[in-house]
Amino acid sequence: MGTMDASEVSIEVRDLFYTYPGSEAPAVRGVDLVLEPGKTCALLGRNGSGKSTLARCLNGLLLPGAGSVTACGLDTADPSSAIEVSRRVAMVFQNPDTQIVGSTVEEEVAFGPENLGLPQPEIRSRVDEALELVGITDLLKRQPLRLSQGQKQMVAIAGAIAMKPHFLVSDESTSMLDHAARLRILELFEKLRAGGMGIVHVTHFLEEATLADSVVVLEQGAIAARGTPRETLGDPEKVRSLGLDPLAVTVVAYELEKLGHAVTGDVLTVKELLSWLYA
């Protein structure tokens, strides 16, 4: 019964539709998707394509209008599993200021585990573990609202991790950060993924998506492209048609092809394009 085991640890989205109240057109239409533990999936698409809506369906913040979302074996539409679903699939959002409630980092990270009704020593050890993992133990007694945007986002992620989730859904958590802070978040995601967590990363940055195991591109609420970063992001014309900013090296490779130089294999990084040049 291998498939049953897999569904216990993955998120399965089946023919999902979601329409916002008062709206006519569905924001998500007919999405089929399986998200696996220990893998990173980058979710791309132009503004209004349904990325955030789909992300919010993954942990039961939004419930399916039709179809289903099964997270770690739990139907998100079943009210009796709502709390457990939100525990297993944690979310971090774009603006950390809107997610912070505690007056110290310690309180902030303890907020989730406290709401689970865990005993005090367990809360304590979860806070320590989460801060350790995120690499911000030195911030324990600091006031979250006085931290930099990047540090605040790290605190928000620590809060999510303290729930011991199986999946972390990042809804553009890097988009307001500068490059250095973004890199730290991406390194952290990679560390969590290597530890077995499934990562879903909604982003505008194609360079971030090249690091993912798989890429899903939404267009008007439906999946318009999916595959490895190479399969989905290699062709600049296709990428543009999906409303995305193609990677510079793919555009240059495309121009090279017009000049009679077929760059072997789809290149996504400067390094790959240069190794073709010097080969």
Partner: protein, 288 residues
């Protein structure tokens, strides 16, 4: 007639009031020419938004001097006068849309400047056209019915209707998708060309301003570290990483080519990059 904006050894500090803020700007000297697109880039908290406000007369320098053309901007009335020539588009300007139609929203600024009648109508129509939101279709629509990218451009139109000679934008591309960013960049260049205006883009992310800007100023800890052309940026090998920034992929590729002694005519143009690489490849092939 567009004029040159010049800052001479400008410093600015926010009142401390119990918060641990340092001086926001110290000893900044720079100038912006008509037709310039100057990118001021720095990490979060570097003082670049403060600089944007000084460049538009919203914050008077604590020390140093601000010149517009030959005239030093000093004292309240000069500052108020200057603010008619230099305008700031704040971050997320669409949050400030409020009127019940797009046309009324665009008209709000120039109306406050005392414009009425045909001149007001012309400015609203012209600026809407410049940003690619033709009023024939949009005149009576609510700004809130527009997409995010269109809302941003409607907010820009409201500022362009003031016909500023210096237009400063704080993180204008943040939160926009590819089409939104491209549409905004095109609108900015159209305005620059039409009015010979100076444009200053303040950002923490070089990628969106890379192909658009004529010069780049790097800011950290309230100081302007350097002011360079794109070619100079590539050649100087600016240490962006320590500033928490990076060259966009275009720049990273161009820099590698420059380092390898491969000359690129226009490092922001993909054809130019491809041409230079093709030449190198062919030369290497011929040498085998």
């Amino acid at each position: 007639m567009a004029l040159r904006l010049r800052l001479e050894d400008v410093s600015f500090a926010y009142p401390l009031g119990g918060r641990d803020e340092a001086a926001a700007l110290s000893g900044v000297s720079m100038s912006v020419e008509p037709g310039d697109v100057l990118c001021l880039a720095g990490p979060n908290g570097s003082g670049k938004s403060t600089l944007a406000q000084v460049c538009t007369g919203l914050l008077p320098p604590a020390s140093g001097a601000l010149y517009y053309g030959e005239r030093r901007i000093e004292g309240r009335s000069a500052l108020l006068q200057f603010r008619r020539s230099a305008v700031l588009l704040f971050q997320n300007p669409e949050d400030q849309l409020f009127a019940d139609t797009v046309a009324k929203d665009i008209a709000f600024g120039p109306r406050n400047h005392g414009l009425r009648g045909d001149e007001l109508t012309r400015r609203v129509r012209d600026s809407a056209t410049l940003v690619g939101l033709p009023l024939d279709e949009l005149e009576g629509r609510s700004p809130f019915s527009l997409s995010g990218g269109e809302q941003r451009r409607a907010a820009l139109a409201g500022v362009l209707a003031l016909e500023p000679e210096v237009l400063v934008l704080d993180e204008p591309f943040i939160g926009l998708d590819y089409e939104g960013r491209t549409g905004l960049a095109e609108a900015l260049l159209r305005y620059r060309d039409e009015r010979e205006a100076s444009i200053v883009i303040v950002t923490h992310d070089l990628s969106n301003a890379w192909s658009l800007s004529t010069r780049f100023g790097l800011i950290a800890d309230g100081k302007l570290l350097s002011l360079q052309t794109r070619d100079e940026m590539l050649a100087a090998d600016a240490d962006l990483t320590s500033l928490g920034m990076q060259l966009p992929q275009w720049g990273a590729l161009a820099r590698e080519l420059v380092r390898a002694g491969i000359s690129v005519a226009d490092p922001a143009d993909p054809r130019s990059l491809a041409g230079a690489m093709a030449k190198r490849k062919e030369a290497a092939g011929a040498g085998d």
